[in-house]
């Protein structure tokens, strides 16, 4: 079907690609520096939980190059801030609650001198007991926010009724965002208390508000700007605040520009990560594998403060069904306080964690029954017309999971490859293969309803060039490219005439974070509204000026068509309009319709629509060492009508590989003192180029968003990430095969080689462990 659009739906390079490849894309640390710029660094706690009994900074103050030192005593306004709850001290307030917590900040004449100076502090602590383990925290009922539970049906009755019942638990590690560009903020003081902040942040408005609170100044004195980030992934949603707020305080104190750019180790030590969690489950199911009742206890490690943990934990609850209908359920979510970095947003935001648990249960059921997990999955899918109410009481109206999974099953040749894998496994002792096909249903919208709003500002200049500004931030996801496509489409001009400018709180105010996969949905719509307002004024003008009907005016092919009265080049047309005193610019505002939800009961319609997707992964494992590798991945993704298939493909592939890192290699490891020991790429291993499978097939599922989203597209950011669960479960499938498909493998995540070897042992799948027993080995080899 030929598209009726000329720009939307077509491939365009990322708007900054030519700058990226030539090194001319400007990131915060690349902005030419003002004269007299100072450089900030933090002094970090070396205890996980302690009272500070002495903080002698005299040597820090007298260190070479040091211009200012601040502690919590120097905070002019609010000493405690936070995204959802003001429980985070700007700098440690007599107490440290994690190893790496900033206790004081320094501004010095060079980056190096600032870093050297902070090492000179003399600190004494009175140690307190640290809670370092999520299970210990849960047992002690140590929470950052109260537990939340949703339940329905006669749980005990159903669990006992059988015919089958199964219980288990597993642990899944967290994940560091590892944006390639670390956290950085550059504060430049202006006249009359004004403060301008250049920051790598997903949430300029929140940075503005926090600085306003901490400096005790009205918001109109604070301006925050972000042209682009070198990656965010959630890590710069709230947690850019440490850098933003302290840079602003140091700038205010010294009257000089101050830049805080975190060294990679400090970035790891200070900021929070994806929530690691433990799940206990209890499930009853029928002879063919249909779930009749399921109970989850979700223990999330939130770290020392609330931050976004409440919303993350809610989203985990909201995704505990994934694509499956649950009739009788009991989901208890514990937001555990631990003495570690405050865990925060990370692509998926609890969704992948929720999905993982139900998929784990499905896999267990299949293993117990000796059925193919795909068959058990299909049996439990939401119905199209019945069995379609989620645990949070939202009706699933746009379900395409049946068709989508059927299609992927065929295109990935799942059944044929299942047989090939079985044959391979029968013929190989050391190496085993595994295969898994995992569906994903992902809810789109911020669960907190008020965040689902956006603003945009579109300027048409008299030469016909167009500048668009909106509240979203560009972190590589191609938001600016897609919004520019929307604007170009609406105005009927070539994309090259539209430019996106830096996100700026003084242009579009009171914005939400760029998060929850909503960037294009919200800001694309807001920009569309702005353009349509401009067009309406122009159409009225054209009717008046050229004598046509306003409804006939069309913006096509870089021209404005006024019925059969005139066809004027766009630039000439807007010049004429301007000469006739018609406004060529407008703001636009958008709020997502239909959504609502009760934060107490966790019921309502938290999501505008769902994204559906599925992935099929094939892996190979080494039963001597547990090493594992993805051999092939096939993905089918419902992007609605994708706005930019190239940019959108990048989101799917990148999200999948990032998810694979979470589930297979990226291990956060704290020592027994609560110190994070994996705090740089030398010790924390994100996927590298050899981890990309040679066979990687991604396709978009033909579908229109049934809701009125921007050009019927669907969100792209987060849903690809949990598709990587297919890799995890393929590994578990290989382990299961190594144990001759007898015992159900016990396997935690990430599935590092060590973790896989342990899982292999749990099913007796290590050939070397059988040594000494009567095993026929070298007989065939002469």
């Amino acid at each position: 079907m030929k598209s009726k659009y000329r720009t939307v739906g077509t491939v365009a390079p990322h708007e900054s690609a030519h700058l990226h490849v030539s090194g001319r894309a400007q990131y915060t640390d690349d902005i030419p520096e003002w004269q007299g710029t100072l450089y900030g660094a933090f002094g970090l706690s070396e205890r996980a939980h302690a009272r500070i009994t002495k903080l002698d900074l005299s040597k820090v103050r007298s260190a070479p190059g040091v211009v200012a030192v601040i502690t919590v005593e120097d905070v002019p306004g609010d000493k405690y801030i936070g995204a959802a709850k003001a429980d985070e001290p700007v700098l440690a307030d007599g107490l440290v609650e994690y190893y790496g917590q900033p206790m004081f900040a320094v501004a010095a004449t060079s980056y190096d001198l600032a870093r050297r100076a902070v090492k000179l502090a003399e600190v004494e602590y009175e140690d307190l007991h640290p809670v370092l383990d999520v299970q210990e925290g849960a047992e002690k009922e140590s929470y950052v926010l109260p537990p939340v539970r949703i339940a329905q049906g006669d749980m005990e009755g159903k669990l006992n009724a059988g015919p089958h019942r199964h219980q288990g638990s597993f642990y899944c590690g967290g994940q560091e965002q590892f944006y390639l560009e670390g956290q950085v903020s550059y504060a430049v003081p202006g006249e009359d208390g004004e403060m301008q902040l250049f920051a790598s942040t997903q949430h300029p408005t929140e940075m503005q508000l926090m600085i306003s609170h901490v400096l005790h100044q009205p918001s109109h004195t604070i301006k925050v700007q972000c042209r682009r980030m070198g990656g965010g992934f959630g890590g710069k949603e709230t947690q850019s605040w440490q850098f933003a707020v302290n840079a602003a305080m140091l700038a205010q104190k010294t009257g000089r520009p101050v830049k805080i750019r975190a060294d990679r180790d400090d970035d790891f030590m200070i900021t929070g990560k994806r929530h690691d969690f433990r799940v206990e489950y209890d499930v009853a199911y029928t002879d063919d594998g249909q779930i009749t009742a399921v109970k989850f206890v979700q223990q999330l490690r939130c770290g020392y403060s609330a931050d976004l943990s409440g919303a993350v934990a809610d989203r985990q609850v909201f995704h505990s069904d994934n694509a499956y209908y649950l009739d009788t359920f009991d989901i208890l979510s514990l937001r555990v306080k631990t003495n570690s970095q405050s865990n925060t947003a990370f692509r998926g935001f609890g969704g992948p964690q929720g999905i993982m648990a139900i998929e784990y249960v499905i896999e267990d059921i299949a293993a117990k029954l000796g059925r193919d997990p795909l068959d058990v999955r299909k049996l439990n899918f939401y119905g199209r017309t019945d069995r379609n109410i989620t645990p949070y009481q939202m009706k699933v109206e746009d379900n395409v999971i049946h068709e989508l999974v059927d299609q992927l099953e065929k295109t990935s040749q799942y059944r044929e490859r299942r047989k090939e894998v079985d044959t391979f496994n029968a013929n190989n002792r050391v190496l085993k293969k595994g295969l898994s096909l995992v569906p994903v249903k992902f809810g789109i919208s911020f669960t907190l309803t008020q965040l689902n709003q956006a603003g945009a500002l579109v300027h048409v200049y008299t030469d016909g060039s167009v500048l668009v500004n909106h509240g979203g931030t560009e972190m590589g996801q191609g938001l600016n490219t897609k919004v520019a496509q929307v604007v170009a489409e609406e105005l009927g001009v070539d994309l090259k005439h539209v430019r996106s400018s830096a996100t700026d709180t003084s242009k579009v105010p009171n914005t939400s974070a760029t998060a929850a996969s909503t960037g294009t949905d919200l800001n694309g719509k807001a920009a569309q509204v702005a353009v349509r307002k401009i067009k309406a004024a122009l159409a009225d003008f054209a009717a008046d000026h050229y004598g046509c009907d306003a409804a006939e005016v069309a913006f096509v092919d870089n021209h404005v068509e006024c019925g059969d009265k005139a066809r004027v080049p766009f630039a000439k047309f807007v010049q004429t309009a301007h000469a006739n005193r018609i406004p060529l610019w407008s703001s636009g505002f958008y709020r997502t319709p239909k959504i609502h939800y009760d934060t107490e009961t966790l019921t309502g319609r938290p999501f505008y629509y769902f994204v559906y997707a599925a992935a099929c992964a094939e892996v190979i494992i080494d039963t001597l060492t547990g090493e594992n590798r993805l051999v092939r991945a096939d993905i089918l993704y419902d992007a609605g009508r994708p706005i930019n298939p190239a940019v959108d493909l990048g989101q799917v592939e990148g999200g999948f590989i990032q998810g694979m890192g979470w589930l297979t290699a990226e291990e956060l490891w704290w020592n027994d003192k609560g110190r994070l020991m994996t705090h740089a790429p030398s010790t924390y291993k994100i996927p590298s180029v050899s981890d990309c499978p040679a066979q990687f097939n991604v396709a978009f599922f033909e579908n229109n968003n049934r809701e009125d989203s921007i050009y019927q597209s669907k969100a792209m950011g987060e849903p690809p990430l949990p598709l990587a669960l297919s890799v995890f479960f393929a590994i578990r499938d290989a382990v299961h095969a190594a144990g001759d498909r007898k015992a159900v493998p016990l396997m935690d995540a990430p599935a590092t080689a060590e973790c896989v070897l342990k899982a292999l042992e749990s099913v007796g799948g290590c050939p070397a462990s059988k040594l000494g027993q009567a095993v026929e080995v070298a007989a065939d080899h002469g």
């Binding site: 090194g23 980030m229 190496l431 592939e653 790429p681 060590e754």
Partner: protein
């Protein structure tokens, strides 16, 4: 001897002659803070992410050698006599993009773009090396030091494999050769830099080097700097005296001498491993997995041995192969078996002023079966949890001699004497191997850390020996790497 006090190199085609602020100032600091070239990024400041990758060219035996290096941990004075390109040097503003840039753009290889300049420079290096139409395997090897968090790599791999489809870029190799030759002629005299609290020498002959180190035994010897660099950027260490051996021409030689491969102190990891892999193809996988391409282009093989880290990947194999080290102090030399060099954690049988001049690896003895295995969380650029090596000679079906060594199992790379004992004189069968596997427990009490637990290390050390047995008995399909490309 005449000495020079300024560092001279070409940067994007322009000659830079500078007095470094400090001899341990990094190339990246110079680029970003002094030269105003902010296209090159800092992602980690420890040579692990590749955002700082630049291309280095040097004249070697009349040919120009191109290498991708990490600017973040390379000290500025080590560029003396060389040419360097950063991403800004590929196409001036308004000019058409270089083919590698155009390919990256057309294949949608950038998202946030922060890692992109580093990838571009790894690709550009391939282009200049003549790998204009590379295989997938070559691409993976050359991009092994560049992390990208956005794309998942597929479009970057495609861009690199297809960069040869564009009209070829002007290479101007002759001009470059001439520039490097002139620079070479001017930089023959040793470099000497003195600041308020640091001294730096870059001698050009072995005897100068030996004499300097003998006179200043408290100096730090700098080779590739892939470890020292991050001591400066990460631990903020101050080195008051540094002697750089990278300009010592005769230290960069690889020779065959009385049945040994002799590898000099300045031989880079890539060149050293290449020579080693010619004798021992079993070392090829270890070579490709020994850090990343840019690290292997800066670091030296002997430096890795001299560093003596318990998790260094070179030592286990070299110990198994009966490598000897040549120690030099002033004009006197002595030789040691490599395993005798390592006394304890970071403690070596080395006197003040004495340094490793070379290592001597026996040439291939066809009667010996050899293998070396590396275990780490990631394929590329990762530090081993366990690295094992085996060299076993048979007399018929009986084990005549056995040398087994491991990294990651003890405070130094160490031989498994008990396991060796369990094998020697025994028939090469499963029972014997099981006994040797059990004996490994007497050889090692490994530590638990973020890379692996003690139990896992011991268990896999056993299992790797079992793998060696299976492979040596002809079993195939025992390693993922041989099954999957």
């Amino acid at each position: 001897m005449t000495q020079r006090h300024t560092v001279s190199f070409y940067l994007n085609g322009q000659l830079h002659t500078v007095v470094p602020e400090s001899p341990t100032q990094t190339v990246l600091q110079y680029l970003r803070n002094q030269a105003g070239l902010v296209g090159t990024k800092e992602g980690c400041a420890e040579g692990d992410c590749g955002a700082c990758t630049v291309t280095e060219a040097s004249l070697e035996d009349g040919q120009v050698a191109f290498r991708a290096i990490n600017a973040c941990i390379r000290f500025l004075p080590t560029l003396d006599g060389k040419a360097v390109w950063t991403v800004e040097g590929l196409a001036a503003q308004g000019e058409p993009l270089h083919p590698v840039q155009q390919a990256m753009l057309d294949y949608h290889g950038s998202q946030c773009g922060f890692c992109t300049p580093g990838f571009i420079m790894s690709m550009y290096t391939m282009y200049r090396k003549g790998q204009v139409r590379p295989s997938r395997e070559e691409v993976l090897d050359n991009l092994s030091g560049n992390l990208c968090r956005c794309t998942g790599y597929r479009p970057i791999i495609d861009a690199t494999m297809n960069m040869g489809q564009y009209p070829e870029a002007e290479q101007a190799l002759e001009t470059l050769k001439q520039q490097l030759q002139e620079l070479h002629d001017q930089t023959q005299a040793p470099l000497f830099i003195e600041t308020a609290d640091q001294t730096y020498w870059a001698p050009t002959t072995s005897s100068q080097l030996a004499q300097l180190f003998n006179e200043h035994p408290d100096a730090t010897l700098l080779a590739g700097g892939t470890d020292l660099g991050l001591m400066v950027t990460k631990q903020l260490k101050h080195f008051s005296k540094v002697i750089y051996l990278g300009n010592v021409a005769d230290a960069a030689a690889i020779k065959e001498e009385d049945n040994h491969l002799v590898i000099g102190a300045a031989v880079l990891l890539n060149e050293g491993y290449e020579a080693l892999a010619k004798q021992y193809p079993e070392a090829t996988e270890l070579w490709k997995r020994f850090a990343s391409m840019p690290i292997r282009n800066s670091g030296t093989l002997v430096g890795n041995v001299a560093n003596g880290s318990p998790i260094g990947d070179t030592a286990p194999l070299l110990i198994a192969l009966q490598t000897r080290v040549v120690l030099r102090k002033g004009d006197s030399r002595r030789e040691l078996a490599l395993e005798d060099l390592y006394l304890d954690y970071r403690k070596q049988d080395r006197e003040p002023g004495e340094y490793l001049e070379a290592i001597k690896v026996p040439l291939r003895n066809p009667a010996i079966k050899v293998a070396t295995y590396k275990l780490s969380k990631r394929i590329d650029q990762d530090i081993s949890a366990v690295c094992s090596a085996y060299a076993i000679q048979f007399d018929g079906e009986t084990v005549a001699s056995a040398r087994i060594a491991h990294g990651g199992m003890a405070a130094t790379s160490r031989r498994a004497y008990e396991a060796e004992k369990a094998l020697v004189g025994q028939p090469w069968n499963e029972q014997t191997v099981a006994a040797a596997m059990a004996a490994l427990e007497q050889d090692y009490q490994p530590l638990t850390d973020m890379r692996a637990t003690s139990d896992y290390r011991l268990q896999t050390a056993r299992n790797l020996l079992y793998r060696f047995y299976l492979e040596s008995s002809g079993e195939t399909a025992t390693r993922i790497s041989t099954e999957v490309v």
